[in-house]
């Protein structure tokens, strides 16, 4: 059964400063999945992502990504961090930033092939016109797209994104998810989001994280289930963005 799964977490526990962040977590993600990790602040969403990436090691349990330990397959995973974590004064063009995705242990210099792969990835996120633009001059949504291109240009099997729509407007959010939906035909996608109402329109399943992990198909998400997972009431806004002359309505 496990052979079908690209991501396997078996009985994982992780504590930070003696506070249990994740406890006895089991998670199986199939090839081609498009899933969103949701949950309250401090519930362990980013920790789960970092464990999968191999940036941190679990205190207990086993993680297998593409059948191997995470640090063995890092180059087959594309990762997009939140752009807010990056230095906005750094002098770099879009090309410079995306080329980072072509770094390997062995190549000291970028080849012509690297540059072609980078241009293809930039084209895939619709940013070809900005190749020589300074990264700092881009809007929040454009920066997110460039960071997705950086994650894509190594042709990963799994794409992991940390709050790809944080600090971007609704239209940008829609555009980003349209890009991700297209990419999902080629790779497994796992993203952290705080906006369950919005992501449930696009993703196939939702991984609810609050020290423990429960995975649901998006069609089964309802109030009672969320209350059970979050151990309390949660304000869930389902956006139905229809712009009319009367204004913008929220259901």
């Amino acid at each position: 059964m496990h052979n079908d799964h690209e991501i396997i977490l078996n009985n994982i526990s992780f504590a930070y400063k003696q506070r249990n962040v994740l406890e006895n977590v089991d998670l199986l993600i199939k090839k081609g999945e498009f899933a969103s990790i949701v949950g309250p602040n401090g519930g362990g969403k980013t920790t789960l992502l970092k464990l999968i990436l191999g940036l941190i090691k679990p205190d207990r349990g086993v993680i297998r990504i593409l059948g191997k330990s995470p640090d063995k397959v890092r180059q087959q995973m594309g990762y997009m961090p939140q752009y807010a974590h990056l230095d906005m004064d750094f002098p770099a063009t879009v090309m410079d930033v995306v080329l980072m995705g072509r770094l390997t242990k062995s190549n000291l210099w970028f080849s012509k092939k690297d540059k072609i792969e980078v241009l293809t990835a930039i084209d895939e996120v619709g940013m070809t016109a900005f190749v020589n633009t300074e990264f700092n001059e881009l809007s929040g949504g454009q920066k997110q797209r460039i960071l997705i291109a950086r994650a894509l240009c190594s042709n990963p099997d799994i794409l992991l994104l940390d709050e790809p729509t944080a600090n971007v407007d609704h239209q940008t959010e829609e555009n980003l998810f349209s890009i991700l939906q297209k990419l999902n035909s080629k790779m497994t996608i796992l993203l952290v989001s705080h906006d369950l109402g919005f992501v449930s329109k696009y993703v196939k399943s939702v991984i609810c994280v609050n020290r423990q992990v429960v995975i649901h198909p998006t069609t089964l998400i309802n109030g009672a289930m969320i209350k059970d997972i979050y151990h309390g009431d949660l304000k869930m806004v389902r956006h139905d963005h229809r712009c009319s002359q009367e204004g913008h309505s929220h259901d």
Partner: protein
Amino acid sequence: MIDIFYAIFDPDNLFLKYAFIMGSLASISFGIIGTFVTIKKIGYLAGAISHCVFGGIGLALFLQVNAGLTWFDPMLGAVLAAIIAAVTVGLVSLHAKEREDTIIGTLWAVGMASGILLIDKTPGYFNLSSYLFGDILLISGKDLLYVACLDALVLGVSILFFNRFFSVCFDSEFTSLRGINTTFFYLLLLILTALTIVLMVRIVGIVLVIALLTIPSAIASFYAKRLWQMMLYSILLCTLFTWTGLYLSYSWSLSSGPTIIVLSGAVYLVLLVIHKLLKSY
């Protein structure tokens, strides 16, 4: 202005010629490494390293006189102390985040204090201020050779690993996911910073060296769109500040180090105000 050219080529003023050559050579490393220090925002780590260099100079002088190790040149002591300090400071900043400020501050002060104590216990007269604030009269042909060798090393390693350093400075976490050993390259960058600091100790001294490491690259950051441009502008600015500072200090009989630093600091402040005003309109 013409008199400075006569002075440089006057055989009696060999020290002045050496100062200009040393300033030009060191500006290359200062421009490159200063850019990394500025964008990685590790100026305070470079400050701690530079003050620890004084401990190495003190130890070399102490061993030269008290233990008869005449080969143990103060520049060699400075290089060794700089490398040890760079690795220590780097490991502290990576693994002791919660106490980083305190530990780095302690290393900063202890490095400096141990140098003073070692010189106190060394018979003979040593002009402390020449190490602290620079003295071009002390530059020798051997110093120039040291600087040229260290310069070649810093330049070669920086060019070879340019993409690695770029990546570690911009997004260390992502770089490690690409299979690159970010700890190694971060420590290597700090070691290069340490060696670069030693390059300029003779001209501007230990206390003032950090300003010359960061000011040219801070100015360059106003105008550069790419990292290599920032390095190129920093090299040119560092050379300009060093030459102009040396000229002014010679013409008005001032200390070379403080003259260079006050000049570059004044230019930085003026350009910072202009840059902010232009940005706000």
